[in-house]
Symmetry: C2
Subunit: 387 residues, 2 copies
Amino acid sequence: MQALDGARAHIRNVPLENIAGLAKDRFGDTSVIPLWFGEGDVPAPAFIGEAMNRAIAAGHVFYTHQNGIPELRETLATYLSGLGALPVGPERITVTASGMNAIMLALTLICEAGDNIVAIDPVWPNTGGMASLLGAEVRSVRMDAGPDGWSLDPDKLAASLDGRTRAVFFASPGNPTGAMVPLEVQAAVLKLCRERGVWLIADEVYNRLAFGLASAPTILDIAEPEDRLIVINSFSKSWAMTGWRLGWMVHPPSIGPTLAMLTQYTTSGVTTFLQHAGVAAIREGEPFVGSMRAYCEAGMGIVCDALERSPRVRMGPRPKAGMYAFFEVDGRPDARQACLDILSATGVGLAPGIFFGPGSESFLRACVCRAPDVLRQAMQRLAPALA
Amino acid sequence: MQALDGARAHIRNVPLENIAGLAKDRFGDTSVIPLWFGEGDVPAPAFIGEAMNRAIAAGHVFYTHQNGIPELRETLATYLSGLGALPVGPERITVTASGMNAIMLALTLICEAGDNIVAIDPVWPNTGGMASLLGAEVRSVRMDAGPDGWSLDPDKLAASLDGRTRAVFFASPGNPTGAMVPLEVQAAVLKLCRERGVWLIADEVYNRLAFGLASAPTILDIAEPEDRLIVINSFSKSWAMTGWRLGWMVHPPSIGPTLAMLTQYTTSGVTTFLQHAGVAAIREGEPFVGSMRAYCEAGMGIVCDALERSPRVRMGPRPKAGMYAFFEVDGRPDARQACLDILSATGVGLAPGIFFGPGSESFLRACVCRAPDVLRQAMQRLAPALA
């Protein structure tokens, strides 16, 4: 008998397959062009590592505050207050071990077995994965794909909520769609959540990668501090810190002590000197964020140019934000198999739509945050599969 | 109405108070001698940070394997195989964001609402805290304090298990007691868990801090790979890496993919370059571990010398492992209040027994992993409170 039989039943039933699982046998294989993750090929700028080393030299190597070091909470508060229309105080910020870790803390606070959350999809799958670990059901409300791109119908969302719904999750700009939810639609969602007493978890991880904008519209501009609202963010994308593992959440002040307790019992907190690296990233990173935005926009152009040349590719208008192209290929309804075939035939790693919610099974996601030459090579390799 | 009202009921009922909470207002206050945490005053040796910087320079700054980088899993397997009597393969090792994070993953795998775990106490409180987050009950089986120190009665343990018991948790060497459970008693516990189909979570975080021994007795020496056994460990204590946040678990090979999935949805993995620091710590850290062991032994001598001079202090034989003295003071049955009084009167931070399970309410815990001069100063400051 295997030990796994001793795991609880619903954990055994959570699918093991995810993008990381698809990729794990090819980590470090330089013949692969890895467009499957939400990750670029640019390392974080050197000043961030230098700030980390200064923190180590200064002795910031011991246990610290569960909500994050005051210096980073204050730096993030100042940053967010400058970026949006409303001030955000440090008492609303908790530093986390990643954007995912922030979602874990939020859902652990909110959900238990028998509850449900409503995820607006196509959506990054990991939020639903974490809800499943808690025994909560994940419901999907699909955005509509129209000539102007993906849009959310708040009435459809309202119809999906019931008495066991504890949270609505949406990302803007979206992953995988890049869609930005207009602020008036976000306001309708917030109003609905207020009326129903439901939490709103807003993933704004891509908010600095909106092409031609300083920032995508943020729900923080229309919310009250004590709204049941948690805004997720991360250093991974805009500061190119995927492997560093650092994120944050904006939350009602009243739940700060509870988040400290949840942090204590799940990770016991975030690497101390890494938080000092985060301070430097925010304070000195604006030119770099601008370069990442331009890099993604250029990559989006290269990838979409190629996709639009292929008569078999179906794709809406080009995304105006984020780091992904999300498209279908005529005659390839099973994108999971298509990804495996494409990986083996071309060495290009794509992510299959099956991970992004029901209705996306025929979609492929390609990360565009790569060097132009690499993206051109990837699209050349892909051409026969798309022709 | 505060947002916290929207948290689920049993999360609101988990006490917010813990050692970190007690300490948080005095972080960085140099007038305090902080003996409350399980943390020394020695930073990790420089070669560990240098290895981390080499990893960053080599481009190990992106997402990586959910079970940990192969190099660290193999390094840990070799290390454990050399330390114990039986070989441990890399497929049994998962790298975690801390020892606490390893416990979180283990309990998430095993426990749900309505289950219970049995913790052998006096015990570090955070395991029970995490079980509470899952809605599981935490039962205590207390070790007996005798003339030879703390000892565990397996029959008492057997009597505490019922049909909803999913796991037994024990630490050896113990925190706060420093007690080492003899291997024949560990064998009895393992046999009991096998008979009942219950998981055994063994915390061996202090195993390298057994005075005069290369390592404390490890349950890995008597277990089969597919036993329902998870052994928790961490770089925090023996390699002085508390603020770095790095740990590992030894587990049955069959649950490796499930642990990868759980990691994906809770933290999405451990900082990549930090794992390379872990490789260096294991490969080159033996002299440092030896020095930490000697440092703790010296500190234990200084603290126990002083405590034994006080007629009001009740303490068993000196601990032979770990980094704590655990004692009572006649006339001070409420150790929590005693800690607050002592902190305010003397500036010495102690941890109250209330956190270590029922029956320990009158105990105080002092970390002895500090420079001899600092410990002597602390004991001088404490003398009036103990006289």
